[in-house]
């Protein structure tokens, strides 16, 4: 259970979100940037953070109790063109 929260990829993701949580408000409070469109970009960054935090909880909820190796697994169907395909691909785009 707690193994999921100490997984390397999960910790890196938390760190990445944390850096943004600190920087976006900092540049606004200390007015580090001046730009005609700064208010727009700042608004976008807040929405972006909300999506990322919500998405992070979605990931943790979906993988609750699962083997932490799921986070680094990648697409499991290596030899299919699209996930909905029944058969493995006979032509190239996926690799040998």
């Amino acid at each position: 259970m707690s193994g999921n929260w100490t997984n390397r990829w999960v910790l890196i993701l938390i760190l990445g979100i944390l850096i943004q949580v600190i920087i976006y408000p900092t540049v606004w409070i200390f007015q580090i940037f001046t730009h005609e469109y700064f208010p727009d970009v700042f608004l976008i960054s807040l929405i972006s953070l909300a999506i990322q935090i919500g998405g992070f909880y979605t990931i943790m909820n979906k993988t609750k109790g699962m083997d932490p190796s799921i986070y680094g697994q990648g697409r499991p169907f290596q030899h299919k063109l699209r996930e909905e395909d029944e058969d493995v691909a006979t032509r190239k785009p996926t690799f040998d």
Partner: protein
């Protein structure tokens, strides 16, 4: 139990066959072109002005219907060029007959903006080269440039923002590269990762801090979405999030120096902030 086959309705089937969901990135590029229009000529707007008016006789090759506003023509071609998706399925052998509607739509696109659509078609065929020739790091890079021509084409051939060519080259390598990695579709993960990291590395050379902040804020959730739907992509999201969060940190530290290109080649990055159309209400 009787097997239920869900046949989509006519409209839904059209949306699926013609991959209308791809309108999301395509319309974003059209809006970006609209955003830059007033910089080309202060009288231009999405519904007024032919961007090729100063091209002399060449303008009739770029836009034969010269009397129509280029902003609307490029919007229309974003829809009509969706004929390419059934064409793609036909090339891949997924459907036996080439649908007539697709051919008409592609033909219509050529009538609207011949030069742009020619380069978009070239881009489409470039993305197919990994299948038709061979999948190796070189052809994979060509595939990404094909994406640049197909999806970002309007930015150059209608918006005429050629100063963006180098950064968009790295952007297309990065975006296409990280998809290839996540989908196990690359012949060399190492080289593909290298080209992915060139994208954030190249940004401080061409953009100022606010533009980089916008790219960070937009691109992280855009990629992360895959892992919200399927958590087995989490490692790709983690790498992209930490990379672009670090880029943001660098953008904050380097504020007065950005974009770096203008230090070494003054005026390399032209002024490109269009006037605000709708002012903030406060």
């Amino acid at each position: 139990m009787e097997e239920q086959t869900e046949e989509p309705g006519l409209v839904m089937k059209f949306f699926q066959d013609y991959r209308m969901k791809m309108l999301i990135p395509e319309l974003l590029v059209v809006f970006a072109v609209w955003y830059f229009l007033p910089l080309l000529d202060s009288s231009f707007s999405p519904i007024a002005g032919n961007v090729y008016q100063d091209f002399g006789v060449l303008q009739y090759f770029f836009q034969p219907l010269f009397f129509l506003p280029s902003g609307l023509v490029v919007l229309a071609s974003a829809f009509t060029l969706h004929g390419i998706y059934p064409l793609d399925n036909y090339h891949e052998g997924k459907i036996d007959k080439l649908p007539k509607t697709a051919v008409i739509l592609i033909g219509l696109s050529f009538v609207l903006l011949p030069i742009l659509v020619a380069f978009q078609m070239l881009g489409y065929y470039m993305t197919e080269m990994t299948e038709f020739v061979s999948r190796n790091p070189l052809w994979e890079r060509v595939e990404s440039v094909g994406d640049l021509l197909f999806y970002a084409g309007p930015m150059f051939f209608v918006g005429l923002q050629w100063w963006l060519l180098i950064p968009v080259f790295f952007l297309s390598q990065g975006i296409d590269g990280i998809h290839k990695i996540a989908h196990h579709e690359t012949s060399s993960e190492k080289i593909t990762w290298l080209f992915y990291f060139l994208w954030p590395l190249s940004m401080p050379f061409f953009f100022d801090s606010v533009e980089i902040m916008a790219m960070v804020a937009l691109s992280i959730p855009a990629f992360a979405f895959y892992s919200y739907v399927r958590p087995y992509y989490t490692y790709v999201t983690s790498i992209h999030t930490i990379t672009f969060a670090s880029l943001l940190l660098i953008a904050v530290v380097l504020v007065p120096l950005l974009p770096l290109m203008n230090i070494w080649f003054p005026g390399f990055i032209l002024p490109h902030i269009p006037p605000r159309v709708i002012p903030w209400p406060f």
